[in-house]
């Protein structure tokens, strides 16, 4: 393992100052589950590691009026233990449950999962579907980015030099909404997604008509992908397998998966369609319940 300098700032201002002074030569460290293996294998090189764990502004998980604020340091297991998450954001709970192993979930943070910017990241695809607002802080001050503007390519984000992700905010979904997350891999745990999908459906009250929908997929393009063409075909319909098929067709047309050791691109494309259908079916069943029996 290479030599590096180590910093442990205890405020956001200090962290930003250190990171910008080091001009991209240092890495923020959260849970370290992505960063440390890369450092050990020499896949990244830099001269410093800045531990964010003691920066209070990055902590916290809770409701602020009608949205949930997820501090960047929130661990995946604390998402799982949170009642608001399981009540209002079942797709987020599902993705957290599907991420890694118990040991990894205890260390891994939301900020790390997003900033690592893997196209397969389980939380990224969900926060895209929930239209998360990404809160950033840097030498030039604070700013907010929409989820879909945050991811730029594999391992690349919109973060500028010295900038830190402080939190993500997501709004409580409208009435009669339901979300679902599905992940496809070769085993049930300890698995990086071959494809993952998050959807949300909102029904018109007292009907089975779809008022709005969101569909996002991971591991099928350089970034997690929101598929608006598939969303468009569903709005105003009453769902059902023909509608899901049509949405799945749009998804399969939109994705651009690669061949690698884990899967062929062709199989990923096929699975993207299957997961879309299945996630919509699952979300619709539950949304229908809430729209008509609440």
């Amino acid at each position: 393992m290479q030599d590096f300098d180590y910093w442990e700032p205890d405020s956001l201002a200090e962290a930003v100052t250190i990171l910008s002074a080091l001009k991209g030569q240092a890495f923020p460290l959260a849970g370290g589950t992505d960063l440390l293996p890369k450092l050990q294998k020499g896949q990244v090189s830099g001269s410093g590691v800045v531990n964010l764990k003691h920066v209070p502004e990055l902590a916290g998980l809770g409701m602020e009026r009608t949205s949930l604020r997820i501090g960047a340091l929130t661990t995946v297991s604390s998402l799982l233990a949170n009642k608001e998450v399981s009540t209002y954001f079942p797709a987020l709970a599902g993705a957290a449950r599907a991420l890694g192993t118990p040991q990894i979930r205890n260390l891994a943070t939301v900020g790390g999962n997003l900033c690592n910017a893997s196209p397969a990241a389980d939380l990224a695809v969900v926060l895209l579907a929930y239209e998360g607002r990404f809160k950033l802080a840097g030498p030039g001050g604070a700013r907010t980015l929409a989820a879909q503007d945050f991811f730029i390519g594999p391992g690349q984000t919109a973060l500028t030099q010295g900038e830190i992700l402080t939190a993500v905010e997501i709004d409580i979904p409208p009435l009669h909404s339901r979300s679902a997350f599905l992940k496809h891999g070769l085993r049930k745990s300890h698995e990086i997604a071959l494809v993952n999908a998050a959807v949300q459906l909102t029904l018109e009250s007292g009907t089975d008509k779809i008022a709005a929908t969101r569909i996002a997929l991971g591991a099928v393009a350089p970034t997690p992908l929101r598929v608006r063409t598939a969303e468009a075909v569903l709005v105003g319909t009453r769902g059902g397998s023909a509608a899901w098929d049509e949405a799945a067709e749009k998804v399969m047309a939109a994705v651009a998966p690669i061949d690698d050791i884990r899967s062929t691109g062709a199989y990923r494309r096929h699975i993207a369609g299957v997961l879309t259908r299945r996630a919509l079916h699952e979300a619709w069943g539950e949304a229908y319940e809430t729209a008509n029996h609440a």
Binding site: R187, S189, I261
Partner: protein, 758 residues
């Protein structure tokens, strides 16, 4: 027959130290002035080494030794852990460090330095000039006309071994139908919890060297390491601390010779501990085999001819492969009765990491092919798959073609019957299971037989010493090669049972030490309970006889009237006369005799009784994703007497996890052009997790045998032998699609389902 301690679910002798984290493994050791060793590995699958410049590495402060082929003894050796025996075909084709790179990961140089960072930096400073050669990554490429030679063997065929019984051509003429199919099974890796390849070597002032190593076979490793170093065997001492799993990966030397050479050259103790990735790259795993099976059958399901041609991909060095070809033939011969059988085995060099032993030693490969084809035959003839197996398998009293000896006991009929009932054979097969949406269900089975030792192929010496202490407790001195399977516990139970002592009063040497324990060929061939158990029982019986003789003198009764139970010697008729073992032993030590009661045995077991299993799987195939989910496995095993049923069940359950992985997810892959491994890590090499395990039901059938200790046979390897076949047959039952290649991945299943639709 019931016993006091044999057959009881006693607690393992190593349970406390392992669950509490107190067990001290080889990698935990720390000796004064100990250096860290590291190996420089070839980045090329096949290359000539033109030059190596070590000068920069040598001058780095903290570096104590830098070795290349120039520094190794010019002695060729073979890493496979075999005693000299009729079945050991030991082609010696490797040096401690190589002079030609034959796979990505081949050891080209080694360093010892004061710490890990310095050792790693020293590796970076070694300059090697390679001339890359074309690699041959599978048997077709290696045997092709004009293929580059990896060693000097023509067409890269290290060995070719035909075995012929009767006349298969005549058998095919007599057949009503002839089936011919090709099967392929991939390379799979053992993935022990403690990565394979960890040794500490410490030279002493008297010219001996002590090596602590995570091994399955202390004595055989002592011999091979000494040979590779050019030392007399007695100059090397092997100590085996607890081992974190082996599954065959430590069946021979791993990195002991490199560690020892670094220690001898530097004069300091050296720890050489492979990382997980290095253990993937540089240690032995399961052979990929291409098998062509041709079988002639009569309408009634009896076999007229059975033929297998097998191309065994042995990787870059011979190690086990030419010997391994023997059991590959043996498994095939023994499974089904037939007057005409032919096996043609080719052991082929390729530019992948050499293959060696992995739980089952060729049997999982052969059983997958045979049991897949037998299922097809049953289907074609309209026979129940259970019936065709019952009809053709060899049984008690018949000759076992593996050894040529009579089969002592056979519990297969009972295993099939109970297993079939537990899986719901009659109600779930042939599309009777209710399909749910896009999913199809099916049930299948596979049968297997396996060994309880290595005879007659290998000499099977085991040795035990039992000494009764002055307090009535006893020590069992044994070259304890327990690698996690629990053999140390089972052997303790055997000794306690024979001695008539409480289990807690018998203490086995948990750490094996070749300076202390007698010669034993180690943990392999599922032999510890049977072969080791027999030696232990004999030693305990010898001690018991001396104990009773002495007690008879003290009690003034004929020795025939005495017995010993739970630490007390008593007269058989009643309780009138008795004396504790402690009292007898105390008198022995300190009375007029002045001796300790000690029993010794060193011997080969009388036989090698086969064990049987019938495994059943229920699967659900997702026709949209191609995913095969195993819903339930029933494993019905004839193990002889189960010395400790909990350990036996544990062996079967753990093996099933590897067997399901073999069927569905595991494959160690190489880029065919460059020869680079593609998934030498635990993210991309898919062993199953606890979450992936289906419901498992184990059924123990105890067809005890005459020659085993208290009737025990074996269980160590057999739990995964039939699993892939059972799953493939269940997938066939669910979908009508026959997969002749493992693993049965979702992509393959989906492609086959699409082809079926057309």
């Amino acid at each position: 027959m019931s016993y006091a301690i044999v057959g009881q679910r006693v607690r393992r002798v190593d349970a406390r130290e392992k669950v509490s984290g107190r067990a001290v493994y080889t990698g935990d050791l720390n000796l004064p002035h100990m250096l860290v060793g590291k190996v420089l590995r070839s980045p090329h699958a096949h290359a000539r080494i033109l030059s190596i410049d070590t000068s920069k590495a040598r001058s780095l402060p903290g570096v104590k030794a830098v070795l290349t082929w120039e520094d190794t003894p010019k002695i060729l050796w073979n890493s496979a852990g075999f005693p000299p025996s009729p079945g050991a075909v030991l082609m010696e084709d490797q040096y401690i460090l190589t002079d030609k790179a034959r796979y990505v990961g081949d050891a080209v140089a080694a360093v010892a330095a004061v710490d890990e960072d310095t050792a790693e930096r020293a590796l970076e400073l070694i300059e090697v000039e390679y001339e890359a050669l074309t690699p041959a990554m599978d048997v077709e490429a290696a045997m092709a006309e004009g293929a580059p030679l990896i060693h000097s063997a023509e067409k890269n065929v290290a060995a070719h071994m035909p075995v012929v019984i009767g006349d298969v051509e005549e058998g095919f003429r007599q057949a009503d139908f002839v089936f011919e199919d090709r099967y392929y099974v991939p390379k799979v890796y053992q993935v022990t919890m403690e990565p394979c390849g960890v040794a500490v070597a410490a030279p002493d002032i008297d010219g001996r060297i002590t090596i602590w190593t995570s091994t399955q076979m202390p004595h055989l490793v002592r011999g091979i390491t000494a040979h590779a170093l050019g030392l007399k065997t007695g100059k090397v001492r092997i100590i085996k601390p607890p081992v974190g799993g082996a599954f065959g990966s430590r069946l021979g030397v791993v990195n002991e010779p490199v560690a020892a050479l670094l220690a001898l050259k530097s004069g300091y103790p050296v720890m050489l501990k492979y990382t997980r990735e290095e253990s993937f790259l540089g240690t032995e795993s399961r052979h990929p085999i291409t098998m062509v099976l041709k079988t002639g059958v009569k309408k009634d399901g009896s076999f007229t001819a059975r033929q297998m041609t097998a191309y065994i991909d042995g990787g870059a060095y011979a190690t086990h492969t030419p010997s391994f070809a023997g059991p590959v033939a043996g498994w095939f011969l023994a499974m089904y009765k037939c007057a005409n059988i032919k096996v043609d085995n080719y052991s082929v060099y390729t530019n992948s990491t050499q293959c060696g032993a992995f739980r089952g030693y060729g049997n999982p490969q052969v059983v997958f092919a045979v049991e897949s084809q037998v299922d097809d035959i049953a289907m074609a003839l309209g026979l129940d798959p259970l019936e065709i197996r019952r009809k053709n398998h060899p049984c008690e009293g018949e000759v076992w073609t593996w050894s040529g000896w009579e089969i002592e006991s056979c519990g297969l009929e009972e295993a099939i019957e109970r297993g079939a009932k537990a899986i719901g054979w009659d109600t779930k097969r042939n599309g009777q299971a209710v399909p749910s949406g896009t999913k199809k269900r099916g049930v299948g089975m596979g049968y297997m037989m396996h060994v309880s030792g290595a005879r007659p192929m290998l000499h099977e010496t085991s040795a035990a010493v039992v000494k009764i202490n002055e307090d009535g407790s006893a020590n069992l001195i044994f070259s304890n090669s327990d690698v996690g399977q629990g053999s140390g516990t089972a052997l303790t139970q055997v000794a306690a049972e024979e001695l008539g002592l409480a289990y807690e009063d018998v203490m086995i040497t948990k750490t094996a030490d070749t300076d202390v324990a007698g010669f034993d060929i180690g943990s392999h061939a599922s032999r510890q309970a049977y072969s080791g158990g027999n030696a232990v029982r004999k030693a305990a019986a010898a001690a018991r006889e001396k104990l009773l003789t002495m007690a008879a003198e003290i009690l003034q009764v004929p020795v025939e009237n005495l017995t010993v139970e739970n630490g007390v010697v008593l007269t058989r008729e009643g309780e009138e006369k008795s004396i504790s073992v402690a009292e007898v032993s105390h008198k022995a030590h300190f009375g007029s005799h002045g001796h300790q009661i000690i029993g010794v045995a060193s011997e080969e077991p009388e036989g090698n009784p086969p064990v049987y299993a019938a495994q059943f799987a229920e699967v659900e195939v997702d026709t949209e994703t191609g995913v095969v989910e195993v819903l339930k496995v029933v494993a019905a095993h004839d193990v002889g007497t189960a010395i400790n049923p909990t350990l036996v069940e544990g062996q079967i359950q753990g093996a099933l996890q590897q067997g399901i992985g073999y069927a569905l997810t595991e494959e160690y892959r190489y880029d065919p052009a460059s020869g680079r491994p593609l998934n030498a890590n635990l993210a991309d090499y898919k062993i199953l997790t606890a979450m992936d395990m289906p419901e498992v039901e184990t059924i123990l059938v105890e067809a005890s045998c005459r020659t085993g200790p208290f009737g025990a046979k074996s269980v160590g390897e057999s739990g995964l032998v039939g699993t892939a076949a059972a799953i493939a047959n269940a997938v066939f039952d669910a979908t009508g699609i026959r997969f002749r290649e493992l693993p049965i991945t979702p992509e393959k299943v989906l492609a086959a389902l699409r082809a079926q639709e057309k």
